[in-house]
Amino acid sequence: MDTAVLDLLKERLDTVHETAISHGTLVLVVAPAELPGTVQRLKSEFEFDLFLDVTAVDWPGQKPRFEVVYHFYSTTHRVRFRLKTRVSEEDPTVGSLVSLYGSARFMERECHDMYGIVFRGNPDLRPILLYEGFVGHPLRKDYPKRAEQPLVPYRD
C-alpha cells in the first residue's frame, strides 16, 4: 500500500471542498458540477484506474438530501479512496463517469434504480435490478418496505 499518493492528492486537487480520513480511508467531498473533472484528473494524474462502486445515501430532512458515494482503487498504488458529492431532492443530477470507466455503466444504472439519482451523460439508465414499470425508488427512506407495486401482466 502506497499512501503517499493520497497526500499528494490532498495537496494538488483544488476542486475538493473538504478531506477527512475515516477508518483509514481518504474521503474527498466535491460539488456535483466538479465531479467529472475531478475524476478525470484522478484517473489521468493519480492512476486511480479501477472504478469500484457508486451508491447513494438518503438523508431525509437534510439539505441537500442525497449523498452520492464513489469508491476508487488504484491498481498501481494499491490504495482506495472515497469521493462524495451531495445532490438535492429537486435536482438529483450528477455527471456520469461512463466515458471514463466502463464499469460505471451498470453501477450508475443500479444507483438510478434504487435512489433516482440521474447520471447526466449515461445513455442507458434502464432499470437493471428492477423492471420496467416499477414505481418509485426502493432504497429511499420514504419508500415503505411493504409497498406494493402494480402487477406486471403476463406476456402472451
Binding site: 479501477l50 466502463g102 423492471y131 414499470g133
Partner: protein, 405 residues
Amino acid sequence: MDAKLPNPVRSVFEQVERDGTVVVNIGPSHPATHGTIQIIVELDGEKVVRADAHCGYLHRGFEKECEAHTWHNLIPYVDRLNYCSALSNDFAYCAAVEELMGIELTPRCKYLRTLLAEYSRIADHLTCIAASLMEMGAMTAFLYLVMLRDFIYEHLAALTGARVTYTYGRIGGLACDLPPGWLARLDEILDQYEVFVGRVHGLMDRNRIFIDRTRDVGVISTAEAINWGFTGPILRSTGAPRDLRKDTPYLAYAELDFEVPVGIKGDNYDRYYVRMREMDESVHMIRQLVDLLPDGPINVDDRRCTFPEKRLVYTEIESLINHFKLVMEGPQVPAGEVYSAQEAPNGELGFYIVSTGEGTPYKVHVRSPSFVHMGGAHRLMEGYQLADIIPTFGSVNMIGGECDR
C-alpha cells in the same frame, strides 16, 4: 389487469443493426446457464454481433431488508449473496462491522477465518469449474469435482450445522470452535483433493476438444478488464497479479506463503487454469494455517457485540440484560461509514456500511463482483460464436444471489 404496463424487460436494441442478422433471446431460465440471467444477442449467422445481459431476476431487496434488522440478524442474509462460498460473505460483512466498532479479532479467530475463507474458495472454484466443464460435456470431470465439493460441504456441515448457508461468522468472532477430529478429516479431504484434481488436470489440460472450445475464446486485455471493473480470477487471467490478499493483506494473509497465479491471454482457458492453480494455493495455505492455528478464545471479550455465556445468562442479572439488549436492540455500532473489501472467490467483495450509532444499519451496500462482471460480460461474448456464450458465461461464474441482491 392493467394492460398499459410495459414489458418488464426492455432490450437495449430492438432492431437489427444490419441486414441478415437476427435477435435471439437466451434465458432467463435456460438449462445451460447456471444462473438466472437473460442475454439478448444479435446474431450474424452463428456469430454474436451484440449482446445485452439483463440481471435482476433474483432481486429480493437485500439492501432494503438490511435496514430493518439488527447488525447480527443480517448474517443469514449475507450468506445468501454468494451461496457457493457463504463463509467468505460472512467474514467480509463481519470485518466491515468490526472495523466500524474498532474490534481486534482474537488470534485463533483470525487464523480460523483465513482457513475457512480459503476452504470456501476451494468449494467455490470447484463449483465453477465443474459446472463449466459439464456444460462442455465433460461429465467425468464434473463428477470428480462435485464429489470433492460434497466432501467439503459435509465437512462444513459438521462444523456449522448447514451444508450451504452456514451463518457461521459473528461480529467479533465465530459461532463455535472446531469440533473434535475436524482437522484430521480436513487433512483427508485435502489428500483426496490432490488425487481427483490431478485426474481432472489429466483429463482436461491438454484435451483437444477442451482447448478448441476455450483457447482464444472470450479474450480480454488487462487494460480493458480494469476498465470494465473486473477483479478476481478474471483480472488475474489477463496477466495482472492483482489480489487483495497480497496487495492489502487482511486477516492472517500477511503471514502466509502463497503465490498469485496469473494467466497469459485472458481467455476462457486461462480463467479455468487460474482457478485450478488458485485452489492449489488455497490448499497450500490451509496446510500452513493448520500448523499455525493458535489456541485461545474465538470471540473477542467485548460486551458490545459478543453474547454472554448461556450459563451466565441464566444465573446473573448483568449477563441477562446484556443478552436481552443484544437480541432486542442489536450491537450498538458507533456512527460512521466504512468500505471494507476482501478477496472473495469471484473478486473484490466490498461492504459499504453506514451507521448512525444504532443497533440497526442505516445503510448496507454490497459491491458484489458478479454484478460488476455482468456489466462487462457482453465484451467477452461479442465477436464469438453463439455456442461460446455458455463456456464464457461459465468462466465468469456469475452468482445470481450476489449479482441481483
